[in-house]
């Protein structure tokens, strides 16, 4: 089985969120990048678990990004991919990224394409669905459990107030969130081995962006917390009821 895992980079959660160039660009200077947690903890780790079940499986990783994405894709390889592909393009238009991934996917004829639930920076939760549509494949979004028996996947996905279980034949695109896999830490052997694993750089195919970012805004500063004395919890309830009108 051939699995393609989509890997993106995102600022470390503790990174300061600020913008430059008239608020049109994220201030990336000095920011620590991490693998987007949903891609690492759920999509990639599930792929590794599937390969442990069926060692003949092949895991390829794809990232759409410029050279500064390489430490991230190397780290992902250390966790367990066989080979990585970097499409040399920086874009924040989901359709542009999805077009690049679908071009790679079409060429590699993968049985399974895994993405994370969403990126923590641009929060689109869009790329998996777009890739599926571009490839005319079924898409299961927000999967919390994923099992394979031969060619048939049994996938549990989140719905409002519960979950839904469906059976779908491969090939298939799945976006992964908590529940899909167990968390794990890369071992030293993996980290050493990753250096010799192939990382292919390819140039992007031509696509037109469907959206553009005009600018960013930071939320207005909070007025500060209104503290109520622990002796008078009733006063808090009064404020929430009468002032904030929450109930």
């Amino acid at each position: 089985m051939k699995i393609l895992v989509c890997i993106s980079k995102t600022p470390d959660t503790t990174a300061k969120i600020a913008f430059v160039d008239n608020n049109t660009k994220f201030a990336a200077e000095g920011v620590q990048w991490i693998i987007n947690p949903y891609d690492e903890w759920y999509a990639l780790v599930r792929a590794i678990e599937l390969k442990e079940q069926d060692p003949s499986s092949i895991i390829h990783l794809v990232t759409v990004g410029t050279a500064d994405a390489e430490p991230i894709i190397r780290k992902a390889l250390a966790l367990g991919g066989d080979e990585a592909i970097r499409v040399n393009l920086e874009s924040h238009d989901s359709f542009t990224i999805a077009s690049q991934i679908s071009a790679i996917a079409r060429e590699g004829a993968y049985d399974l394409i895994l993405t994370g639930k969403e990126t923590l920076d641009y929060n689109g939760a869009s790329i998996g669905g777009m890739v599926a549509e571009l490839l005319d494949l079924p898409f299961i979004s927000l999967a919390t459990k994923f099992d394979l028996a031969g060619n048939t996947a049994t996938v549990t996905r989140e719905i409002e107030g519960g979950e839904e279980v469906a059976e779908v034949n491969l090939p298939l695109v799945v976006s992964c969130q908590k529940g899909v896999a167990e968390q794990r830490i890369p071992n030293m052997k993996g980290i050493m081995g990753a250096r010799s694993k192939p990382l292919k750089v390819v140039e992007p195919t031509a696509t037109e962006a469907l959206t553009s970012i005009v600018n960013f805004e930071l939320p207005p500063a909070k007025a500060g917390v209104k503290l109520v004395s622990a002796d008078q919890p009733e006063e808090l309830v009064r404020l929430l009821h009468e002032e904030a009108k929450l109930f």
Binding site: F19, P37, K178, I213, E217, K222, K226, L240, A244
Partner: protein, 319 residues
Amino acid sequence: MPVLIYIDQAEGHIKKSSFEAASYGAKIAALTGTTAEAVVLGKLTDDLPSLGNYGITKVHHVADESLNHLDAQQFTRIIAALATQINAGVVVLSNNVNGKAIAPRLSARLKAGLVAGAISLPDTSNGFVVKKGVFSGKAFANINVLTPIKIIALTPNAFSPEKGSGIAEVVAFTPSPEPSRVKLVATNKVKGQVPLSEAELVISGGRGLKGPENWGMIEELAQLLGAATACSRAVADAHWRPHHEHVGQTGGSVSPNMYFAVGISGAIQHLAGVNRSKVIVVINKDPEAPFFKAADYGIVGDAFEVMPKIIAAVRKIKG
């Protein structure tokens, strides 16, 4: 070029988030001088003409029972066909669990720019610019949609539905059927609870509550207010609460009117999932707990002393 709104349903009932989408879409139609039409898939028990109350003039209904459950590929095919047929300029959906499966497919199929997680009406003074949350709620981005057709997936709870009066005309839409590639085998719903992603009020507990046996006060307050319950990751990892309740960077993200946090420190990874809440209330015995920096209201105190009094006071109001 009308605005087309996809109305999502569960078990024959229109979801609250879809009334928000309907109102939002009708507002866009009014702003751009066109009409708001809706598309409904599956058999419903709810009354469709009353969607007119939310500004919809026409409802396209595919009354096919097999569409009562989501198949994103089928739904996309049908909505795209209808959007093309009526020459829609904007397609609006809720960015709820089903919207997240359909909107991106629709975007790729129609080559239409998507704003996933919109929180404002479009500004059409210079393009078609819609605001959305980015960096897990720590910032906003204004996105210009560059294509003739635009797709807006509206964040649940970001836009209050406005109810007026009106009756929508209901017409049948009959797309050519195609076999589904997804076979539904089970639906498991947690009974009698408000789903976290749709909740207007959320009561959440952290490790400060010491153990699962102390969750009675969280549940009691939630029940009195009709709120959903949530927890920190530390709590879910300790198996005190089910994993679907865990919010934060690696859990669910919520944007309720009120997030009421008891005994949660407010680690940055937790805040990532809750800082889109309109009002944050924090009960914590440590005045230095980082959560107070993100809070609107709070009490520095022991949850075990404070909570029973809060519950009693709420009970008085709610009778």
